[in-house]
């Protein structure tokens, strides 16, 4: 029996029950569409985030003391002293060294409107070296000044502008009045990609506001100590700089101060991109796994409808056998029908899924990135799901006793 005729008979059987077939196809469609939506969204997220890392901070080496050596995302322990910063500045190929400390802030007030905040970032003007200011400019060390990002500036009843005064309430109820000197977009490289920079951020000069100090093991004097340091390298030798920094680490105060179970980590943006990629991939896989459940439900639908179909068409199976159909041809016919249902669901599910991915990306305000390889996978999955779901019903059909079947009404 040729493939064309098998397909024709299968298509005809599907068309004979339009609503039933449509609902069965819908089951697969939803499953495939869900998978494609999440895969597309995952691909878009990954492309956006990784793209930002590589574009905005390709030459950064991030230093933290991290608990599991994994580095990225951990708050880290304050271990890098002023003496260490000097050490890093002396390394060949280093352009800037930017420390970042965390200042506990209980509230920020602007013109009588108070907003609860948990932290501000204490850093140096170098942090803004590659940042575009929306208004004003960087603060200077030693002054009672503050830089806000746009989200932070709009937290208050009236938007904070350059020249305004904001009041920080620090731990212990002490307050500091600071002059707003600049407004920026994003996070000023605090995190290496700006997607997460849409949170409100408050930047203050380390001097005079940051007061986390430790006795430097190398100098014996009390010095400010920071949990995170960004070494901005000459873009041509980022990897080399990372290696030099790593070689220098054992001799630093940080190495002496790092607590048990913590590790000093130097990572480039590329490392971070890899990590982010892995996290996004893992997340995408997890969500896609959930979507696969929808696909399994769809497969159960196909199996169910095919079993009904085999029972309904017992007599037809008898006729087929009486006119010379072999068992495997009967099986092939029903399997073809199941595969057609799966294929139809997949073929319709992919565009619906792309639409879903586009909607999700639009909602998350990231550009759409398609993953065409996955569309082919989705169609193959549709075929495989149809075949698997149709296997048992088709086997049942092949086993029908023609004598009984021809009497069947």
């Amino acid at each position: 029996m040729d493939a064309g005729e098998t397909l024709r008979l299968g298509a005809r059987a599907i068309r004979a029950h339009k609503l039933r077939s449509a609902l069965t196809v819908l089951g697969i469609l939803i499953g495939i569409a869900a998978v494609v939506t999440f895969v597309t969204f995952g691909a878009s997220l990954q492309a956006d985030v990784v793209g930002q890392i590589e574009e905005t901070s390709a030459s950064n080496v991030y230093l933290v003391a991290s608990e599991d050596g994994d580095g990225f995302g951990g708050a880290g322990q304050p271990v890098f002293t002023e003496a260490d910063l000097t050490t890093f500045r002396g390394i060949e190929g280093v352009r800037r060294v930017v420390p970042r400390g965390i200042l506990a802030v209980t509230a920020i007030s602007h013109r009588g409107d108070t907003v609860a905040r948990t932290r501000a970032t204490a850093t140096t003007p170098d942090a803004f070296a590659s940042t575009t200011f929306v208004a004003g400019d960087s603060f200077e060390l030693g002054r009672e000044e503050v830089v806000l990002n746009r989200r932070a500036a709009t937290l208050f009843a009236t938007n904070a502008t350059v020249g305004d005064t904001v009041t920080l309430t620090l731990g212990g109820g002490r307050t500091r009045n600071l002059t707003v000197v600049g407004i920026i977009e994003g996070s000023a490289g605090q995190v290496p990609f700006d997607a997460f920079g849409s949170q409100p951020r408050v930047f203050v000069p380390t001097d005079p506001l940051y007061d986390t100090v430790v006795e430097s093991p190398s100098t014996g004097a009390n010095q400010r100590v920071y949990p995170q340091v960004t070494v901005v390298a000459d873009p041509a030798q980022t990897t080399a700089v990372r290696e030099r920094v790593e070689r220098a680490l054992p001799g630093t105060d940080a190495a002496a101060l790092v607590p048990e179970g913590y590790q000093l980590v130097a990572q480039t943006s590329g490392d971070l991109a890899d990590q982010v990629e892995e996290i996004v991939t893992r997340l995408t896989r997890f969500v896609t796994g959930i979507a696969v459940i929808a696909l399994i439900v769809g497969a159960v639908g196909i199996a169910n409808i095919m079993l009904v179909s085999v029972t309904e068409r017992t007599r037809e199976i008898g006729i087929m056998k009486a006119v010379g159909a072999r068992n495997r041809e009967v099986m092939g016919l029903f399997l073809t029908e199941a595969v057609l249902l799966g294929l139809l669901g997949a073929a319709l599910g992919v565009p619906v899924g792309i639409l879903g991915g586009w909607a999700a990306a639009a909602y998350a305000e990231i550009p759409l990135t398609l993953a065409p390889g996955w569309f082919a996978v989705a169609v193959v999955v549709g075929i495989v799901v149809g075949a698997l779901a149709g296997l048992y019903p088709a086997w049942r059909a092949a086993r029908v006793d023609p004598i009984e079947a021809l009497r069947y009404e």
Binding site: M1, E316, M320, V323, R407
Partner: protein
Amino acid sequence: MTDRADAVARPGDAVVVADLVRRYQRGIDTVEALRGISLSLPEGSYTAVMGPSGSGKSTLLNLVGGLDTPTGGSVAVGGTELSTLSEPERARVRGEEVGFVFQTFNLMPRLSAAENVAFPLVFRGVGRAERMDRARELLADVDLADRTDHRPNELSGGQRQRVAIARALVGDPTLVLADEPTGNVDTETGDRVMSVLGAVNDAGNTLLLVTHERHVAERADRIVHLRDGAIQRIEDVTDAGRDSGSTDGDEPDARDDSEARRRGGD
């Protein structure tokens, strides 16, 4: 149909049945449907099988048609021994050596008359165009040239049975099996169906007919009377006896389970 005479012109017997036994297990009982039947159907012969319900008529037909396998004995159709064949080989015999005509027509409901006639050729790998040409030819032979694109539900009972007869002939079979072909049509239509089958036989096809109507059986060359799974007698039909029109005196009212179920399902 005269052009088909040479296609079936093989020497000897079309069907040879020897000591054929078929037992069924029904629950704890063993039902002996056939108790050792021997019978030959010469090429081009026309044989009717009569007998009361449960006499084994249908079992014999199913065994000769390769739908069933015997418990003992042998069945040879066109020289091929069926009892030892595997499933796909038996399917091939059903498609190539045998043509079935059923009481309930058994046409594929979603296929047109021509597609139904052509259907057996699908499983023999004949191309669509060639199949359909052959089907239209055969439909013309049974006076249905104007019904080729009709679905079975758009045809009358007699027309459906003629489509079924055309389908039985499409594969140039060694043997045409007809199981109560007039059982579901009125007398007049039944006569028409039997005329078509008569023409099929006249064209040289070997015909084996199962019926419980005496006047239908009398169209055959001979009548095999079955009772309790054995041949009671074989009656040669003379031309003089063909018009007697009486019903079969052997047919009792009592029917066994399988027969009642079959009827109930029709």
